[in-house]
Subunit: 86 residues, 2 copies
Amino acid sequence: MTYLAKIYVTLKPAVSDPAGQTVLAALRRMGHESAQDARIGKYLEIRISGDAPDSVKAAVDQMCRELLSNPVIEDYRFDLEEIATP
Amino acid sequence: MTYLAKIYVTLKPAVSDPAGQTVLAALRRMGHESAQDARIGKYLEIRISGDAPDSVKAAVDQMCRELLSNPVIEDYRFDLEEIATP
């Protein structure tokens, strides 16, 4: 079976986000004064084959810990969905 | 009221993603041979004040079109949720 992992990597709340602050300033300069905060993270879609959802979930969790996120400054979460074999 | 817009910016399917291919190659080299494809996008959280959800939605849509995505190569979508005033 083939699964699609949708992975969200975000900065931990205590970590400052200069890129987000730049986006916020640009939005406000463009007239969006209602914007109050902006934080930028990563969104990854990984297609992965496997049998049991539990083992695929464990593999994706390992990918996130070892490569896709920096555990010192980032949090991650992901959803796993079964997709038709492409 | 304060809303949180969760914005997902992804490359259009026809656009090649060298960063994603690099991540895929790294995952496979690390033993995750079950990984078949990887695409990298952006995930933004924007806190925005407003009254009617419809007008906030329209503002976020405009932000996405004018600043947060490149409509030539990227798609975007977003969810809007009401959050407690911080």
